[in-house]
Amino acid sequence: MTEIIQKVKNLSIGFKSKKGEEILILRNISTNIKKGETVGIVGESGSGKSTLALAMMGYVKHGLYTIGGECEFNSSNLLKMKNRDLEKIRGRKIAMIPQNAGQALTPNLKIGYQIDEALQLHSDLNEEEREQKISELLNKVRLPSPETIALRYPHELSGGQQQRVAVAMALAGTPDLLLLDEPTTGLDVTTQAHVLELLNFIAKDTGTSMVYVSHDLGAIAQVSDRIIVMYSGEIVLEGPSRDILKKPIHPYTYGLLKSIPKLSLAGLPQSMPGSQPQPGTMYRGCSFFDRCDFSEEKCKNNSPQLEYLEELNTSVRCFNYKSLMNHSQVNQTVNKIKTSLEDKEILNLSEVSISYAKQKLLDQVLNRISDDNPTVKDININIKKGETIALVGESGSGKSTILKSIAGLLRTKGGIIKFDQNRNLSSDLKERDPNDLRIIQLIFQNPDESLNPNHTVEEIIAQPLKLYFGLKSEELKKNIIDLLQKVRLGEFYMSRYPRQLSGGEKQRVAVARAFAAKPDIILCDEVTSALDVSVQAAVLNLLQQLKEDFGTTYIFVSHDLAVVRAISDRVAVLYQGRLCEVGPSKDVYQFPSHPYTEVLLGAVLEPDPDIKPKLVAEDIVEEKPPQKGCSFQGRCSRILGDICKSEIPPWQITESGNSIRCHIPLKELQKDQIN
């Protein structure tokens, strides 16, 4: 276990700015990867974690260059090697698993052929042996019936299966070191848990060293033996996984762990102020100084060095780590969410169904949508004024589809959307009057896409103000400044373009734009999933604050159950466009629950090495909802038999008001699930 296979020594990588200044992306990194160990590299976007991982295979991105230091593998410096020599190492000795396997696989070649290609390059097997090896590899990554999978094209596989194929390809050269760049980030919760479990198994089985790069402490906690925390291009903390997650002695890691919402805690975690400094802006002092709760005067001008602590086997870059050592655990405090529920229904969806099926000619002429098995069916939800209701489910569960229909962007096939008890909202945007459009506003997942890159912040926020209220000149400006202040941004942001803002700031601008319309309902589509963990909590807190101030109702779509737990009053669980469970959030997160909710809850990754995900059901992806019976019949581990396949299950209501749509009686469900 002590043999070192990769040695990174004083590595600095950077680029030259337009003015000719040298800007560092990685600053003096030194670390060792031992044989058979899994190292997690964690950090926010822009912390240099991917650059470090790529440097470990001797690759420096275009535009960047090595300023100093080396990456030593088998006692040769990869960064100085010629491409021809690197070819012998890449794939054979060091393999990489990319973030998005769907994009990494060639779309017009069969899976088997692509693995064969890797084998031809990186092994000396003959054709017959290679064929055997292909099914062996596919078996190893637990793909069902390897022979048929090998004959498929990448688009015929689900995201999780594609990721498994990428793992198989990386293993083809029996590498000593596997580099994984956010391998589970784009996957569904349940798939993610399965892939992580597979990686754990492979690490044990083959003794391969792994470097696991991720922003997700939950995923890192499940796989790594050792964790490296990066901040602003530096290692700030490095040590055994358990110690770092349980007793972090660096203020950044401490704050990070405090700001991650957890399943066990209802309420909003505290947020970390500020954001990571941009590369090239830090000239002296500790890079975390601005955001640190433990900072002192000396931190401002002196940069702390990475200090190795013998007794903890940990390296830390902080002057004040001792004061953190006294904190026994990360004690997370949450702000309980306050909801001033009025007993007034603001939005009512009844029997809503939505279909993506292509219309037949006759139906087009008659202007109707006919589809007997629509993507979304039988959605009945009442939403009270001032509450936050969350729609959860995996991708393809129809949660965003429902949101779009409420916003009028997607025509419904049937059902009624009623606002304020008496006003029917047409599902066709053109038939809604401006006031109908004003009362419902959207906030999108990715602020990079939802803000026009050619508009300044002022122009962005001015749009709804001009459109709905016809504001002009001074009054317009006053309103914009007012809104910016409400989302905690200063007046000077008005002249900025979105590209000059950080992710969190951009999302704040998007929030300000939504509130500019003075809406009654705000639809939030995965609003935090594109943000860094430390920023996520701040945006959630802001949304909650604004809700308390304005009495807005939120419909919150998310795949992240911990975030949903933190912010919502009520949760609706969806599978294949059908409702499975609706109830107050504290009850949904407790048993008895619908078998699908159980699967989702089991798969949540917590930044705690002691909480392992429970893999209840297979991570199969179903393309179409079943024609009849329960929507979850295909994956349910508690399936009763024919009744589930033929009859739509009834709604069962628990004492606390949680509705579960399942054939299994609640008492039995509870008994089974608690064991």
Binding site: L437, F444, S450, L467
Partner: protein, 297 residues
């Protein structure tokens, strides 16, 4: 939170942006050469009537087909006219007509493309099939038809060229719009209830403007070649107005013994086309558009 100066970028006036783009263009050798050639031609077009040494239409039978000399720098043509005078004047008509032609092509092609891209559905289908149908007609035949029906006056040539060269821009504008239209800020504008006009004007045009302008610059050089071909065939500029296409057409039979009368207009025409092409490429690079990834239509 203060951003450091390297990330600081104030809202600039359009003039400042333009001058910055031109400086970036000129900082590359190819862009510098292209811009220099283009500017040279434009200046020449403005001042040539004042610097021309002779009368471009003065026929002198005693001076037929004289070789270049100190008196007649580029020699004389078959009617004894000074080739140098005719060459420096020969780009004026072509440059003017194609410049306004390209503007028209940009306007109608760009706007129609953006509209089709935004609206989609049946309207888009029908309009695009009509555009495709026009694309399949050899433009020179159609041009000849128009010119023979309506004459070769500037009022006919500019809109006709503008129409035929705008078809390609429709497709580019539509493709660029499709890239933008999937973004959430368009969805957001739709959900707010903005009109199509407002969405096109405020949200789409700022984002596709660059791609369309570059395409328009490229079309300009093609149109120049097309217009010269028309003149060559006798359907463009009418004699005795000097024009490169016409000059090449007149002198090509005499090429074997009076090469000078054909080389001068050829150099004039091709250098202008190369100049516009290089400028358009440098313009695209300065704006950060990689033309190599976009298939020409």
């Amino acid at each position: 939170m203060k951003l450091d100066n390297i990330y600081q970028e104030e809202k600039k006036s359009n003039l400042a942006k333009l001058s910055e783009i031109i400086i970036t263009m000129a900082s590359r050798p190819s862009g510098f050469i292209g811009l220099s050639i283009l500017i040279f031609h434009v200046i020449l077009a403005f001042i040539s009537p004042y610097i021309a040494p002779y009368d471009f239409k003065a026929i002198n039978p005693t001076l037929m087909l004289q070789a270049p000399s100190a008196e007649y720098w580029f020699g004389t043509d078959d009617l004894g006219r000074d080739v140098f005078t005719r060459t420096i004047l020969g780009g004026r008509t072509a440059l003017t007509i194609t410049f306004f032609g390209s503007l028209i092509a940009l306007l109608w092609g760009g706007l129609l493309g953006i509209f089709c891209g935004l609206v989609g559905g049946k309207t888009d289908d029908i309009v695009m099939r009509i555009v495709d149908a026009f694309l399949s007609i050899p433009w020179i035949l159609a041009m000849l038809l128009i010119v023979s029906l309506l004459g070769t006056s500037t009022e006919v040539l500019i809109p006709a060229l503008g129409f035929f060269y705008g078809k390609g821009i429709v497709r580019v504008a539509r493709a660029a719009t499709h890239d933008v239209i999937a973004k959430d800020f368009i969805v957001s504008a739709r959900a707010r209830g903005h009109s199509n006009f407002s969405i096109i004007w405020n949200e789409i045009i700022p984002n596709v403007r660059d791609a369309i302008l570059v395409e328009g610059a490229m079309r300009w050089s093609w149109m120049l070649l097309g217009f010269s071909s028309l003149s060559f065939l006798g359907f463009g500029v009418s004699p005795p107005t000097p024009d490169w296409g016409l000059m090449i057409s007149n002198a090509r039979g005499l090429m074997s013994f009076a090469y000078w009368s054909v080389i001068a207009p050829i150099v004039g025409l091709s250098s202008l086309i190369i100049g516009i092409n290089l400028t358009a490429d440098a313009f695209a690079k300065a704006l950060g558009i990689d033309r190599s990834t976009k298939a020409p239509v």
